[in-house]
Every structure is written in C-alpha cells, then in structure tokens.
Amino acid sequence: MSTKVAPPEIKEHPMENLLRMDRMPHIWCSTCGLGTTVTALAAALEQLKLDLNKVAIVSGIGCTGRVAGYLKLDSFHTTHGRALPFAAGLSIARPDMKVVVFSGDGDLVSIGGNHFIHSARRNLDITVICVNNFIYAMTGGQVAPTTPISAQTATSPHGCYEHPFNLPLLAASSGAVYVARWTALHIRRLTTSIKEALTKKGFSFVEVIAPCSTLYARLNKLGDGLSLMRFYHDNSVIKHGADPREADIEFQSKIMVGKFIDIEKPTFIEKMNDGLQKRYGDKYKPYGGVDGSN
C-alpha cells in the first residue's frame, strides 16, 4: 500500500531573475566549478545593479560555452574559439552594451588563442571570464594548452609533456588592462574581481581555476570534485600585484591567485576616436555606436 507524500514546497531560485529557468536542469556535473563561477557573475551583476538589458553574454563551445544558454541576458552561443571575434563585432557596434565572454581554457587559448591575444592587444571593451579546468571536458577529457606537465588525460595517457600556458601572463603581455585569478571556491574574492572587471573599460580578464570532477579528477585520481576544488583553494597563495610571470601552475602545485594587473589604457573605440579627431578635428564626428535597434 502506498502512502501519498506531499511534494516538497518549491521555493523560488535565488538567481531566478538571471537564469533561464525553462532550461534547467543544466548539463554540468555536480561539483564542477562552473556553478560557483556563474553564481559569482550573477552576484556581481546584482551588486553592481547593472541594467541587465544592457549586458550581453557570448560564449564558444565546451562545458563553459553552455553558460550563454543558461543566463537570461541577450546571449550568443557561437562556434569553437570564436566567442571573442563575435563579441568584438557586437561590442564595437554597440558600445552601450557590456559584453561578457564566458569561455573555457581550450576554447579561449587553443583554438581561440589568436583571437584572445588580438582582442587584448586592441583593448576591446570586453570582460572575459575563463574557467580553467586544465582539460577538454565536453569532448571526454583530452589534453589542453593549460594541462600541467605530467597530468593524465585521454590524449596524454602517458602524462602531459607539453609546456602549458600561463594565462595571466598571456593576458597581461597581450595588453589586458585587468587580470585576476581565483579558484572556484574563492566565491567572495572572485565576485569582487568580476565586479571590478565589469566596471573596467577595456579588455578585462578573470581566470577561475576549477575542478573537472568527471574527467580531470578521475583520470588523475584526485578524489571527487569537491575535494579537488577544496585542494585548489587551500593550496592557493594570494599575491595581489604579483608579476604574472610567477603565476605558472604545476601539477597539484601551489596556485598563485589575486589581482595581478589593473591599469588604465584607452579602448579600441577611444583610440580610434582620438586618432581620427587629432587628424581631422571637427570634420570627424566621434563614433558612439550603431544603434540599429529602432
């Protein structure tokens, strides 16, 4: 005989104003770092009281690439590695929009590496949040340009033997005006950095070290996702203002985190307007966007 049990009371999701609830549940594994990172972005947007109509999110392909689909913003899920050039067109056409690119490490700096360095060089007004889990997760755990030496992946079955990228150094040396790194458990500090990045004019970059519970943790026998997330957090060393050259990450090593770069530099559009005004004076009307929406 069965007894009827009343369903649990459904409470409103605290991020309901920012999530597409009609797309839940999401596809991410439990204890993946993407959840806390998206939560940090949501908190940052809320705390800044930004007009959400004026925030757009662009992503490429991969687990992180799915972020655009879950956020209730004007959102674009583009091709592998190409979120940045798509975002470049969007942000130049519409400087009134705050354009955020949410990207994984493989998407951003392997297939999209060229776009990354040139977007930073131009100082496009874009905030990039890069969730770095050291592996290609969506495709089943292959070696990435961030995989630490000796780490095991499906395509580095004998341990990775390539030098990995140091993303803060890559961003800083390419011209980013804001560079920070946290782990997925530094929720409060990460939220603060995302807030700073969103308010910064120009190319801002926030790296988030996150566990891939299903692949990276399992292949390298590092326990479950939550313990790996905790390991990253507990083994991080906060060094604000440190030289990004010191921010290399080795396999299960200490991880330098903090805000490394925070400088002022004119954006692409500011430089364009400045250059043309210097040359043509009043003959040139400063560009302020192409609002073709009405």
Partner: protein, 385 residues
C-alpha cells in the same frame, strides 16, 4: 525605403569593381566592415576604411578571416549592416562561421573576389572555381544565395541588392565576383539616393517576453530581436527550436534545417534573376555568369552572323540554380553550354537539370585569364551541329 543621401556618391565615376563594391555597401547603409587583407579583394576593405569614419561606421582589420566573419555576425546582431570581403584561401577560412551565420539567420554580406585555386593558386589572376564552395562550403545542409556581377557597375548594384536580400531573407548573402571584375576600371553610374531602394531590418513588434528569435516557425522569415532592449534572447549554433534553445534530436534537426533550406528553395522564383537574350527559338543556349558572361558575347555574335540561333542566359544569381528554367529549355533546344572559369562546377547543375533531354557542353577554363572567345565559338559550333 530609400538610401541615405549622405552615403551615396551620386554621379558618374570611373571605378574598378572592388571600389564600386565598397561604394555599393556604403550606399546600402553598411556601417561595419571587418576584413583581412588578401589579393585580389583588398581594395574593397581599403576604400571602406577610408570612407566609413565620416559616415558613422567602423572598419576593423581583424587577425584573420575566421575572426572577420565572426565579427560581422556580432556587429549584425548589434544592429549594424555588416560586410566582409575575401578571396580563395580566406573564403575557405570563412566557411566555418558562414555556417554560423546561416544557423543564427544573420543578415550580412560576404564578397569573394575569386582568384585561381586550389590553395594559394593564382593570387593576382581570375578564376570562378569557388562556385561549388559557395554552394556547399560550410558543413551541413543549407541553401545559399550567390550573385555574380560582370562589371564594376554590377558590383555596385549587386552589393546593394545583396544587402537587401540579406535583410529580406535574414541570412548571409554571397557576392561572387572575380579578379578581373574586381580590378577592371569602367564607368560606374551612382544614381541619386532616392533612386536606390533599401530594405531595412525588420524587428519584432512584440514586447519582451512574447518574442522569440525564430517564432515564425517556417511560415515566414522571423523578424530579428534587437539587443539591449530587454528581450534577453538566446541564439545558438546548435540545432535549436523557435525559442533559439538547443534541442538535440532528429525531430528538431528536421524542423531547423528544413527551414533553412526551404526559406530559399520555396522562394527561388522570386530570388532567381536571369538576363535572357534571344533564348526563345534558339537552338543553342549559352549559360554563363560573372566575367565569363561578357566574354561569351563576341563568340555568340560571330555564330549568329553565320545564321545560327544562339541564346544567352546570363545568371545574375547563380545560386539558387535556375532548375525550372533549364528543365523547360532542355526540351526545346539542341544544346546547352555552360561557360565558366573552372573545369566544371555549375555545369554539372545544368547537366543534371537538362536530364539528357538535350546535349550539355562545358566550355571550361582552369583560370588565370578569361576565356578566348574563339574557344567559346568552337563549342557553340560543336553544340549547334
């Protein structure tokens, strides 16, 4: 709507095809151009870069053609009419995100000034060997619209037409010109702005919360949703439903892809644009497009002088292919000839549609120069036997 007079250099000009194409884009209201230098297309980018700062738009030279194609998609969603140009190798790189443009249904224009291929091929010399790449170059099923100007004047006119088609059908449009048209200098008449018809973007009239990116469900072209207005819409390169949400199954795929194909196929009668000369009653009909459709003329004139009944179909749109017209003609004529600067591309479409009801001839050429009219004349004589 008529063109904005600020954008239109009304008057009689002496321009090459590339400069004329840039003027066409500007006249059409293009405000964003992203490109990467490549011979023989670069003059389009150069002229746009020189002119656009004073017309409220932006030129940006991207890091490569992958980025260029993506940037014009992003700018288009931002509300700007946008364009890029390229040639062979760059066209190959653009194909990935040309497909994204098709999937997201994004208005924009891509001009390919064709050169000899494959690979680096003949950077400074003409070819028409990207026609099948134009048709099938990105993976998956979709239908394209490709226009082929034969002169600087048509480069101007057809780039405007391409922008209008891109807004009307909400898709990227290809303008397939070539090195010869791009670099030949001729008279170009730019009409007064009130004689240039412009199709502006159609945005939804529904309020946020009630509008979806593909809401017309295939019955019609869906209006665009504007960014920054609270629609908070989602679009994806994944197979999706009318809401723009990814749906990964066979049913959704059929809905999504069939719609992309049907939107051109079912409207092909209104899209196809042919210029026919003496086709009725002809024994032989020569089909051609772009620069080759000019080179055929002396050969046809010579054959006609000898009393042969030769018609010409100059295809202004190459894709969609005029299947219906070729089927009709195949049962009326002795022969059809395709003249193109490749070793057989659009020819196979003609032969397929002729279905064996008449003889089909290819007058091909590997590129590097235009045809010798004598070779075309020889094919006409053979076809008229």
């Amino acid at each position: 709507m008529k063109a904005n007079p600020n954008n239109v250099l009304t008057g009689v000009h002496y321009l090459d095809g590339n400069h004329a194409a840039a003027e066409g884009a500007i006249a059409a209201g293009c405000k964003f151009f992203a490109g990467y230098p490549i011979t023989p297309s670069t003059e389009i980018a150069e002229r746009f870069a020189r002119r656009i700062p004073f017309l409220g738009g932006v030129f940006i030279q991207m890091e490569d053609e992958l980025a260029s194609m993506n940037a014009i998609l992003g700018a288009s969603w931002g509300g700007a009419k946008s364009m890029t140009c390229t040639s062979g190798p760059g066209f190959s790189l653009m194909m990935e995100n040309f497909g994204l443009g098709m999937m997201l249904e994004t208005p924009c224009v891509l001009v390919n000034v064709q050169r000899g291929g494959p690979s680096t091929g003949l950077p400074t010399l003409p070819g028409q060997a990207d026609m099948m790449q134009a048709r099938w170059g990105s993976h998956g099923d979709y239908e394209v619209i490709a226009l082929a100007p034969d002169s600087p004047q048509e480069s101007f006119d057809l780039v405007i037409h391409a922008f209008n088609l891109s807004e009307k059908y909400r898709m990227p449009i290809l303008v397939m010109t070539d090195e010869c048209v791009g670099h030949m200098t001729e008279k170009v008449v730019i009409p007064p702005s009130d004689e240039i018809d412009i199709i502006e973007r159609r945005f939804t009239k529904k309020p946020p919360g009630e509008a979806w990116p593909y809401e017309q469900n295939g019955n019609d072209i869906s209006p665009m949703l504007p960014v920054g207005k609270g629609y908070k819409f989602h679009v994806t390169g994944l197979t999706h439903d009318y809401r723009g949400y990814p749906i990964i199954n066979a049913q959704a795929q059929d809905w999504n892809v069939r719609r992309l194909v049907d939107k051109v196929k079912k409207r092909s009668d209104e899209i196809i644009w042919l210029e026919e000369t003496d086709v009725e009653g002809a024994d032989v009909v020569v089909m051609s497009y772009g620069i080759s459709s000019r080179v055929v003329r002396p050969a046809i004139a010579k054959a006609k002088k000898e009393g042969l009944k030769i018609g010409l179909i100059k295809m202004i749109t190459v894709w969609p292919f005029p299947e219906k017209r070729v089927r009709e003609l195949a049962s009326k004529v002795k022969s059809l000839i395709m003249v193109e600067l490749n070793l057989g591309q659009v020819y196979y479409e003609m032969e397929r549609c002729a279905g064996g009801k008449c003889r089909s001839y290819l007058c091909g050429h590997a590129g590097g120069t235009v045809h010798n009219p004598a070779d075309i004349y020889k094919t006409i004589k053979e076809a008229a036997r």
